[in-house]
Amino acid sequence: MSNASQTLLDLSDQLALAVENGGASTVAVHARPQMPSSGVHWRDGFIVTTNGTVRRDGDLAVTLPDGNRISATLAGRDSSTDLAILKISTGTMPTPAFGEPAALKAGHLVFALARLDSTGPRAAFGAVSLMAGPWRSWSGGEIDRLIQSDLNLYPGFGGGPLIDAAGRVLGINSGRLSRPFATTIPVETVNRVIDQLASRGYVRRGYLGAGMQSVRLQPGVIQTLKLERDSGLLITTIQSDGPAANGGLFVGDVIVGLAGKPVTEPEDVLKVLGGDTAGTSLSLNLVRGGRLETVALLIGERPRGR
């Protein structure tokens, strides 16, 4: 055989080996009518899949790489990051080797894997088409980095892993977040969410209980109060008995700083409230009646489903 042919054969074998390795921790998730979705045995006893493919809370099962179908229970779900976690008995199968999404670049070869039944794994092949920094899903979830790939997520591939050419797991492919490009929830986001879901069953989010909108401040006010920015956040509604009400905020207050940093857009507040902040104290800089005031309030926990 010629060298070129041998090189191609070696490449093909390596790719098939990557699929085999990544497939060793890829399971089929039976949590919706008709077609199953896929999942990854992320930590011993915990299967990670996408929230959108878990259509019921009970009567769940997974098909393991050895073809056995076992029952599973829902450990938690988070619609904002489109992740769900199922619990299975420990010691049933290996957990994957994880890759480093931070080292991933556009052009790297990747696979999406799936398992639908006792056969498989199934593979779809492509290249990373875009890498970018943190983003927020349309349902408000913080995702640590954007990974989009030029590959086809076939029916049943949602919840399965994106793997690199060495078979290492880079994240979970979300069909729901994927329109139009195949989008992957990176390893670090999954780890962060799984910690909260495994202990609490849901992801706790910080909450102020106030509605606000961005407004421009008068030049005189900016000068007099020596403000860093020319706009702030006008409080338009306050939920009774919410954290903002309890902290003494009023409709008409203009928030210009949170935790010492200037804020001009509602998005700035969501960033401060991101992560596990519920129950912690937050200082606000307000313009009230032409004067600058500082108010401290306790960040509440966003009611679930909001």
Binding site: S2, F125, P155
Partner: protein
Amino acid sequence: MDDNLTPGIARDDDRWHAPGLHAIGDAVRASVVQVRPDGAGGAGVVFDISGRRVVVTNAHVTRGDVGTPILVVTNEGKVMEMRVEAIDARRDLAILAGNPTVTSGESNLPAATPGDLSLARAGQLVVAVGHPFGLANAMTTGVLQSIGPVWGHAELPAGKGALPWLQADIHLAPGNSGGPLCDVQGRVLGINTMVAHGLALAVPIDGVLEFLERYPLKSVEDIRISAVGVRS
């Protein structure tokens, strides 16, 4: 049959040092024909039965019953009149044979080499050659996704989904029908037949060889099926 493949690859290897999918394409193309080149046609793959050359394509590409005359154009541009010799409607396969019989000696039609499905694995590279949208001898690459029945095959024509298929993550279009799905050594793993949910479905080579084995070669005596690699 290997002789048809090796020279092309070796020659290209002397000119290019990068791993050459093009060399695989060149080698495979020699055994791929255009079937019904008058539009809405497809591809076909040349196989050898005891020194006799036949073309395997999809039944839906022939659009006719056994006995229908059909034009075939070889990779070198030679136009040949063949006819439909056998049809397997269940697997959507047809065998075309020359009239008069085309033999290995007189034709420049190298036969394809069947691959070994027992070695096929998900994720391995695959190559398709065909004539998508009439673009002659176009080559496409992708990976094998799985082998087996199509999941949730209710949308496929009656009973077809339950048959074993080579399922490939590769972009195919009308005109690829009847063409080969090959491994990176140019060996035929299956015959590209349809697309479902963007997934390419090919009849596994084992099913093709089985069909060739059943094929009644009326005009040729001493049929030795082993020539196409089937254990008799």
